[in-house]
C-alpha cells in the first residue's frame, strides 16, 4: 500500500474475507435442489400405478472458478474456465450438472392390459458436479 497506494484495493482489513469470497465461493453455488412431482400432474396416473409421487431433483447454481476436488471435477473444468475468461468467451463456462443418480421402481399398466413392475436406472439426481 505504501509503494503504490492507487493499486491497492480500497478495502479495510476487516472486509478482506468478503473481498476473497467473491473468488472462492459464488453466492448461489452449484448444488442439488429438491423437486417433487406427482404423475397425476402429467395426467399419467391412469397408467402409472406407483409411485404416486416422484422426486427427480435437479442441479442449479454457479460453478466456482477453482473447482478442484470440491465437485470431483476433472482438471479440464478449470481449463475450460480459463479459456472462457482469457481466450474466447463464446466457449461456455463449466455447468452445474448431476454427477450421480439413483434408480426408481415404477408399476405401470401396458396398452395390452398386462401389468409391469420395472426398475429404471438414473431417475433421481443425488449429487451435482461442475463440468
Amino acid at each position: 500500500r505504501d509503494e503504490n497506494p492507487k493499486e491497492a484495493p480500497a478495502t479495510t482489513p476487516y472486509n478482506l474475507s468478503e473481498y476473497f469470497k467473491q473468488f472462492l465461493f459464488p453466492q448461489n453455488e452449484c448444488e442439488l435442489h429438491n423437486f417433487r412431482l406427482s404423475f397425476s400432474q402429467l395426467k399419467w396416473d391412469k397408467w402409472i400405478i406407483a409411485p404416486h409421487r416422484y422426486s427427480p431433483q435437479y442441479c442449479k447454481g454457479d460453478c466456482p472458478r477453482a473447482v478442484g476436488h470440491r465437485y470431483g471435477s476433472p482438471v479440464h473444468t478449470m481449463v475450460q474456465n480459463i479459456i472462457y475468461e482469457k481466450l474466447d468467451s463464446s466457449v461456455p463456462k463449466p455447468s452445474c450438472v448431476p454427477a450421480e443418480y439413483s434408480p426408481l421402481s415404477v408399476l405401470t399398466i401396458e396398452p395390452d392390459g398386462s401389468i409391469v413392475y420395472k426398475e429404471y436406472e438414473d431417475m433421481i439426481a443425488t449429487r451435482c458436479t461442475c463440468r
Binding site: L42, K43, W44, K46, W47, I49, A50, P51, R53, Y54, S55, G72, V97, P98, A99, E100, S102, P103, L104, S105, V106, L107, T108, I109, E110, P111, D112, G113, S114, I115, V116, Y117, K118, E119, Y120, E121, D122, I124, R127, T129, R131
Partner: protein, 304 residues
C-alpha cells in the same frame, strides 16, 4: 455425444427423430427402433411430452385395456415389497429381477370345462400373449398365479395336483396337445388366510420364452383333495369352483441400458462420479448359472 466435426443424423441411427420432423408421426412409439418400442413404458410418453411441450396428454390417446383387479392388487403388494414409498428399489440380495410382468389370459380362452366323470378336475385352456416381453429381458422365474374366489365356502387344508400341457400349433394351425410337462404341487393351507397360490412353471416356460414365443397356449388341469393326504381325503369339489383362471407372472432381468442393474450400481459406486459406466463387462447370468466363463468374468471384474 457427437463431436462437432462428425454429425450423425438421428434418422440413420433410428433414434429419436427431431420433433419438427415428426409431426406426421403422432405416435412416439414410431420414433424408437423396433427393439426398443416395447422395452420401456416410460420413454415414449416422456419423448411425446418433450416434443409437443406437454399440451396433449399422450396417454389419453393410447387405449389401454383395464387389468384384472385381483392381478392389480397382487402387483401393488409386490411393489410394496420391492420398493420404498418414494419408489427406490430395496437392496434385497435375493431380489435379482428388475422387471416383473403379469399377464392375464386372453378373454376368449377362459372357458373352464370339467371332466364330469371324475367330477372334480378343474381344467382351463389358457392363451397368454407375451408381446410385451423384449429380447433384452431374460427369464429368471415364471409362476402361474391362482387366486381363490373367497366367497365360495371352502374347507381347511387340502392337497392339489396340477398338470400343465403346452398346446403346440402345427403348420396348419391345428392345436395338437402334447404332454410337454406335468407338474404336481401339494399344498396344505387355510384358503381363508391365503389368497394366492403360486405354481412355479419356470422349466416349463423357459424354452418357449427363450424362443421368443409371442403366444403361449397351455391347458391346466387341477385336482384338489380336501384334508391331509396321509389320512382320509375326499374330493374337493367346491375348491375347483373357487379357482379363478390363473395369471402368468414372469420375473425377468432386463439387460438394457435404461434398466437398473444392482450388481452394476455396487461396482459403479466405487468409481468417480459421473463417468459413463462401460457396460461391456459380461453379464453375470441372472439365473446364477455356474458357467466357467462367468466365473472368469466375475474374477476379472473383481480384480478390476
Amino acid at each position: 455425444p457427437h463431436s462437432r466435426g462428425r454429425t450423425v443424423s438421428a434418422r440413420t441411427s433410428g433414434l429419436l427423430v427431431a420433433p419438427e420432423d415428426a409431426t406426421s408421426e403422432l405416435n412416439p412409439l414410431l420414433w424408437l427402433p423396433k427393439g426398443a418400442r416395447h422395452g420401456y413404458a416410460l420413454l415414449p410418453p416422456l419423448l411425446k411430452v418433450l416434443s409437443d411441450r406437454g399440451q396433449q396428454n399422450w396417454e389419453s390417446e393410447v387405449p389401454r385395456l383395464q387389468p384384472d383387479s385381483r392381478a392389480l392388487r397382487y402387483m401393488k403388494r409386490l411393489y410394496k415389497m420391492s420398493a420404498t414409498k418414494e419408489g427406490i428399489p430395496k437392496d434385497n440380495k435375493s431380489h435379482l429381477y428388475n422387471t416383473v410382468r403379469l399377464f392375464t389370459p386372453c378373454s376368449e380362452c377362459k372357458h373352464c370345462h370339467r371332466d364330469l366323470m371324475k367330477g372334480d378336475v378343474h381344467s382351463v385352456d389358457l392363451l397368454f400373449n407375451l408381446d410385451r416381453v423384449t429380447a433384452l429381458e431374460h427369464l429368471l422365474k415364471s409362476v402361474l398365479l391362482y387366486s381363490f374366489d373367497t366367497s365360495v365356502p371352502v374347507s381347511s387344508s387340502m392337497t392339489c395336483m396340477c398338470h400343465l400341457f403346452a398346446k403346440e400349433h402345427d403348420s396348419s394351425g391345428q392345436v395338437c396337445p402334447s404332454v410337454s410337462h406335468s407338474v404336481a404341487f401339494s399344498l396344505h393351507f387355510e384358503v381363508r388366510k391365503r389368497k394366492w397360490v403360486e405354481i412355479d412353471v419356470t422349466s416349463f416356460l423357459q424354452p418357449l420364452i427363450a424362443a421368443h414365443r409371442r403366444n403361449v397356449h397351455m391347458a391346466v388341469n387341477v385336482t384338489c383333495l380336501v384334508g391331509d393326504p396321509q389320512q382320509n381325503t375326499d374330493l374337493a369339489n367346491p375348491v375347483t369352483m373357487a379357482l379363478v383362471p390363473p395369471s402368468l407372472l414372469l420375473y425377468l432381468n432386463d439387460t438394457s441400458e435404461q434398466a437398473y442393474h444392482r450388481w452394476n450400481s455396487l461396482r459403479h459406486r466405487r468409481k468417480s462420479p459421473g463417468r459413463l459406466r462401460p457396460r461391456t463387462s459380461p453379464l453375470v447370468d441372472p439365473t446364477g448359472d455356474k458357467g466357467n466363463e462367468n466365473s472368469q468374468g466375475q474374477r476379472a471384474s473383481r480384480r478390476r
